[in-house]
């Protein structure tokens, strides 16, 4: 049993905190002496206004409104205990990083998104990125594919190949990965939801199979996150949350057993925060989903040390530079505590908070778009100073369209400049020990745990989602944020501050290739005529049966993929088997 019955996570960790090592770095005598001197300094050197406004609360897009002192000193963290609070890098509690040598040993993966038009178009963009130094791939699908409708579905009309690549069957995957060696890349398949993960990932596995590559050679990740499917996205049809959670867990179980190098969930994170919430809530929800998912995997017979190490996270670094650094360190330490003290893991690898980050898109604006290059660069730098494993940097044309080739390249160059020129990667956790960063790390960890506790008290992650509590919280956040921006509380350069009448030269805006929808429809007609439709029906029937009787659905969806079922056909089966969730549209 991985979790003490009846005790909430916060209670377990608070108990454990009573058994802290007692090796404070500062002596009581020195601290007391310093406090006296600090007070003297404050009274004599610091202005009355600054004394009064010693704490300020920075406001920025997606901020957490955590107050900051004018100056941080050892007094901000008088019980600072190096061994207990930080440890060395690659050592419990992993605050300073999951590896002893961090980026000296392994650079962060430069993993820029690619996806638009036809599979052939996206194949070109992926090759372009690889040729220019990308070290990982990240594949983004068009909206019909994400929402699980085929390219010839009436609901997909006018949207095929926009904002991502269209795929309908395994045949499209062959085109997507033409001349790309599957066993030489790491691929993030941005299957946002559990449902589309259970449809699209099998297609990738069948592609590998048909190319003679065994699944144990495949390296990559899927998003597979229920937060996306049931909370963040708007869509015409949802399956019920508990069925969605079941599919999320089926995906994990299957991948753990059959594709050993694959990261089977990338917890949100990013999309939730971009939807509109603070960096604290972002992490609390991800941890709530993560812990509930691990509990279910334990119920399915896994030992914690067999399952935790391929679970990953996905964060959205935004404007508040030091908050972004601190919170990566905070959640790394908190996750370690959860896995060790709540789940009693023994392997260190199980305790690592590994993450991919995508710099914040909503923080980028349409006015003077080149300013966004600077914003994204700071977001990227903060992520690296915080110890992220993999990055996508949003492009300056975020508020216009899918990135042009040149914008996409500049995002990649942003990463490369951090890696090769700034020298920040030569030293592990360079901000460790900063009075400010350590105080902020502590504060954020506390807040994440408090919000996680709220979710647990409300009945847990699934319950909070089903009841609409999380929705309400987020809608409240982003409504207030819009007001704060419009009233100038949140300053945005060239929008509501430092405004001018300067009109920058227009940027190139991406134009979608023509004819993709017609092409895809023709391919589908051809596919449906050529495939063995008896086998298709048998495979879909077997999948439906598995959905209903509780078997892991993945082997069945893999079979569906093999016989050339289309994505929409599988989604239809899920709807038939699970029913539609009568979800309230919150306003």
């Amino acid at each position: 049993m991985g979790k003490e019955q009846g005790k909430r996570i916060k209670e377990i960790l608070q108990e454990r905190a009573r058994n802290r090592k007692n090796t404070p770095l500062y002596s009581t005598k020195t601290v007391d002496g310093l406090r006296q001197k600090f007070n003297e300094w404050k009274e004599t050197k610091v202005s009355e206004k600054d004394q009064k406004d010693w704490n300020v609360t920075p406001r920025t897009i997606l901020g957490s409104s955590i107050s900051r002192e004018l100056l941080y000193t050892p007094l901000s963290n008088p019980n600072f205990d190096y061994e207990e609070d930080l440890g060395f890098s690659g050592e419990e509690p992993f605050t300073r990083g999951i590896h002893p040598n961090m980026y000296r040993g392994r650079e962060f993966t430069m993993r820029q998104l690619a996806g638009f038009g036809s599979p052939e178009d996206t194949n070109q963009r992926m090759k372009f990125l690889l040729e220019n130094g990308a070290t990982g791939l990240s594949l983004l699908f068009d909206i019909p594919t994400i929402q699980m409708y085929d390219s010839d579905d009436p609901f997909s009309a006018g949207q095929v190949g926009m904002s991502g690549v269209c795929v309908d069957s395994v045949d499209d995957w062959h085109l997507l990965f033409k001349d790309i060696a599957l066993d030489e890349i790491t691929l993030s398949i941005v299957t946002h939801f559990p449902s589309n993960t259970a449809i699209l990932l099998p297609m990738y596995l069948v592609l590998a199979e048909e190319r003679g590559i065994s699944w144990d050679k495949l390296r990559g990740s899927v998003q597979n996150d229920m937060t996306m499917e049931e909370l963040v996205r708007s869509g015409p049809e949802y399956i019920p949350p508990r069925d969605c959670f079941r599919v999320q867990c089926d995906n994990i179980e299957f991948l753990r057993k059959n594709v050993p190098q694959w990261n089977f969930i990338t917890l949100n994170g990013y999309n939730l925060r971009e939807y509109g919430t603070s960096g604290v809530t972002e992490m609390a929800v991800a941890l709530a989903n993560g812990t509930e998912t691990l509990k279910e995997q334990l119920n399915r017979g896994f030992d914690i040390d067999e399952i935790a190490d391929r679970l990953a996270f996905f964060w959205a670094p935004a404007n508040d530079f030091f908050e972004e650094i601190a919170r990566l360190r905070a959640v790394r330490r908190l996750w370690y505590k959860l896995i060790k003290y709540v789940f009693n893991a023994k392997r260190e690898r199980s305790m690592w908070m590994r993450c991919h980050v995508q710099t914040s898109g909503v923080s980028l604006i349409q006015q003077e778009p080149l300013n966004n290059v600077v914003r994204s660069a700071y977001h990227a730098l903060a992520s690296v100073l915080g110890g992220a494993q993999s990055l996508h940097v949003d492009s300056y044309d975020e508020a216009y369209s899918v990135p042009t080739e040149e914008a996409s390249l500049l995002s990649l160059r942003t990463q490369q400049i951090v890696q090769a020129e700034t020298q920040v990667t030569q030293v592990v956790d360079p901000l460790g020990g900063s009075f400010y960063v350590e105080a902020l790390t502590n504060e954020i960890e506390k807040r994440i745990l408090d919000e996680l506790d709220e979710i647990e008290k409300a009945g847990g992650y699934i319950e909070a989602l089903e009841q609409g509590n999380l929705q309400k919280k987020i809608v409240g956040y982003f409504s207030d944020e819009q007001r704060a921006i419009e009233e100038g509380e949140i300053k945005v350069v060239a929008y509501n501050t430092y405004k001018s009448s300067y009109e920058p030269p227009p940027i190139n805006v991406f134009e979608y290739p023509e004819g993709v929808e017609e092409q895809q429809k023709a391919k589908l007609a051809d596919l449906k005529a050529k495939r063995d439709n008896k086998k298709v029906k048998a495979a879909l029937d077997a999948l439906r049966e598995a959905c209903k009787n509780g078997d892991n659905i993945l082997p069945y969806s893999v079979q569906c993929a093999r016989v050339r079922c289309t994505e929409g056909e599988l989604f239809k089966v899920f709807k038939e088997a699970f029913g539609i969730w009568n979800r309230t549209i919150l306003m």
Partner: protein, 135 residues
Amino acid sequence: MARTIKILLAKLGLDVHNRGVVTVARELRDSGMEVVYIGNAPPHAIIKTAIQEDADVVGVSSLAGAHMTLGKKLIEAANKEKIKDRTCFLMGGVFSPADAKKMSEMGFDGVFMPGSTKEEIVSSVCEMVSKKHPE
């Protein structure tokens, strides 16, 4: 204004991003309008609902690139049902200024790009409704 403006809001097509439209829905509701938000719908269904609801304004949100293709279908459906004269059509979302101009020419009474404020949206809506309904 004397009458309560009724506005139908929808996500155009399958677009997943709903933060903007929900923010605008609340802003319009808070400024005294009657707001009906139906989530995702294809163009013909939006027009059908607009007629059923007798909406003064139809506002659609698109952040996924299909503003031109589906925007065109929406205006065509509106013309087919002959409701363009008495109903105002708004488009909001993520697209370039060049596309925004094209959508105005296509028949949208109001086009709102990223950065549009509550003030701009509310006053535009009031103005365009009073133009189409001088009573």
